[in-house]
């Protein structure tokens, strides 16, 4: 039985997983969907209620019926002949998604994570509701395109603004980034453009430190992130050099809440971000169903690769 990994060609965490599965003697096939249809072929036939057949590249092939688990990291978009017109390419893309994507998602195997559940879990407002239902503390949050609502929300509390989705965009030939930002009176006084889309504002929680919790099935790996610069105290992604890490114990109620969220969102893997205040209250910020863990595995020594390998091979749930 084979583990199928759907991933980009350049992905250090996937490299580590390949090495781990090889060490265990577990057959593994790594595919990037970018190779479909020009360098990856699909031959799938619906027989007796399930799809059977093969996925084949020049170097490898995998029998659909022989797949035991699928790890979806960040496979990239299909690549079609450049000679296709835009309409033809769009047609090919849609057919490829419904065909290849549909066959793969129909397989009766464990996914980490099932792509449709990842898509659903990506909606931040749903995350916050799910976390609250699970008993976790959630900071007061406003999502709006109304300037008066922002002024009301910020009138009597410190507030940060952060993206609901990607923290970056590509424009003017480059990549530009917006990290979490503390609102000042000056920012609130000039809200031009706020009406053009939804914006997220959240109560600032005075931090003692932050934590990222990696959930792999029932296993939870909790790492405290200590920021030692002003910028990193607002958003630790701004200044990695100022960070230090330590494995910490999770409060039981937080662990139970995380597991309930995982069940509610049908996830096998998730990267949870928390703020821990001076009273040791854990505040849920978000869950990323495809969040990175590689740097924490190295910095804090948490065995995430092994845990994911266990899950993919059925060693534990």
């Amino acid at each position: 039985m084979t583990v199928l990994i759907l991933a980009d060609d350049l992905d250090p965490s996937v490299d580590a997983m390949i090495v781990e599965l090889d060490r265990r003697g577990v057959p593994v096939v790594r595919l990037n969907t970018e190779r479909f249809p020009q360098r990856l072929t699909l031959d799938a036939e619906f027989c007796s209620g399930r799809w059977v057949g093969t996925l084949r590249t020049t170097e490898r092939h995998v029998e659909l019926a022989g797949i035991r688990g699928v790890w979806r990291r960040s496979p990239t978009t299909f690549r079609f002949p450049v000679e296709l017109t835009a309409s033809e390419r769009q047609h090919a893309h849609t057919e490829a998604k419904l065909g290849l994507g549909g066959v793969l998602m129909s397989l009766p195997v464990r996914w980490i994570n099932s792509p449709d559940h990842v898509a659903t879990a990506g909606y931040k407002p749903i995350q916050l509701c799910t976390a609250a239902v699970a008993g976790l503390a959630v900071p007061a949050t406003l999502i709006t395109n109304c300037a008066p609502a922002v002024r009301r929300f910020t009138a009597n509390r410190e507030v940060v603004t952060k993206m609901l989705g990607a923290p970056s965009i590509h424009e003017a030939g480059g990549r530009r980034v917006a990290y979490t930002e503390l609102l000042t009176a000056q920012l609130v006084a000039d809200l031009d453009g706020i009406e053009h889309t939804a914006n997220q504002f959240q109560q600032w929680v005075s931090k003692d430190h932050e934590a990222r919790v990696i959930a792999v099935g029932e296993k939870l790996f909790s790492v405290a992130i200590y920021a030692h610069s002003a910028a990193a105290k607002v958003d630790w992604r701004t200044d990695y050099a100022s960070l230090s890490y330590a494995v910490i114990e999770l409060p039981e109620a937080v662990a139970a809440g995380i597991r309930q969220i995982m069940r509610s969102l049908h996830l096998s893997y998730g990267a949870f971000d928390f703020v821990i205040d001076g009273d040791n209250q854990w505040w849920f910020l978000e869950i990323n169903p495809g969040g990175q863990y590689g740097w924490l595995e190295e910095q804090a020594g948490i065995p995430v690769t092994s845990a994911i390998a266990d899950l993919l091979t059925g060693g534990c749930s």
């Binding site: 299909f78 898509a119 659903t120 989705g165 424009e171 980034v177 590689g294």
Partner: protein, 144 residues
């Protein structure tokens, strides 16, 4: 939440989302002026950290690993912790973008907002004329 899971917001395309390739044409459009530009984008800045993007690497399809020009696995050359930078193919949590559906079902174009299916056309009776354009104005319109 089970209601939402059973009836997800995500489009058909988004439910099998695929990311941008490592090499793609970055849009060159300049930012809009203040007032038009969405407020959340107005204070965006360039990525300040040096790129940790590896150069000269290739994918070894036999070993299924990224390797350097000499065929040495990248995993043995550099720790993952040292690659926390801001570009695709690295492990920066800052890259954890929530727009993974790089080439969604239908390109954006002038017209009405999202609809589950298109209306019947050419005199056909539904549902034969219903098209699977289930994300009319999707997240990311760029086509590689």
């Amino acid at each position: 939440m089970s209601t939402f899971i059973d009836d997800p917001l995500a489009s058909g395309s988004g439910q099998f989302a695929l990311s941008a390739p490592l090499s793609w044409a970055v849009p060159t459009d300049p930012p809009s002026e203040d007032g038009l530009r969405p407020w959340g984008l107005r204070r965006m800045g360039p990525v300040l950290r040096p790129s940790g993007r590896r150069e000269g690497w290739r994918y070894d399809p036999v070993r299924q690993l990224g390797v350097d020009a000499d065929g040495m696995p990248l995993a043995t050359l550099q720790t993952r912790a040292s690659t926390t930078t801001g570009s695709a193919g690295t492990e920066d949590p800052g890259d954890e973008d929530w727009t993974p559906d790089f080439t969604p079902d239908a390109p954006p174009m002038a017209g009405p907002p999202t609809a589950p299916t298109t209306p019947p056309v050419d005199g056909e009776d539904p549902p034969s004329a219903e098209d699977w354009i289930n994300d009319y104005c999707p997240d990311d319109p760029f086509v590689p």
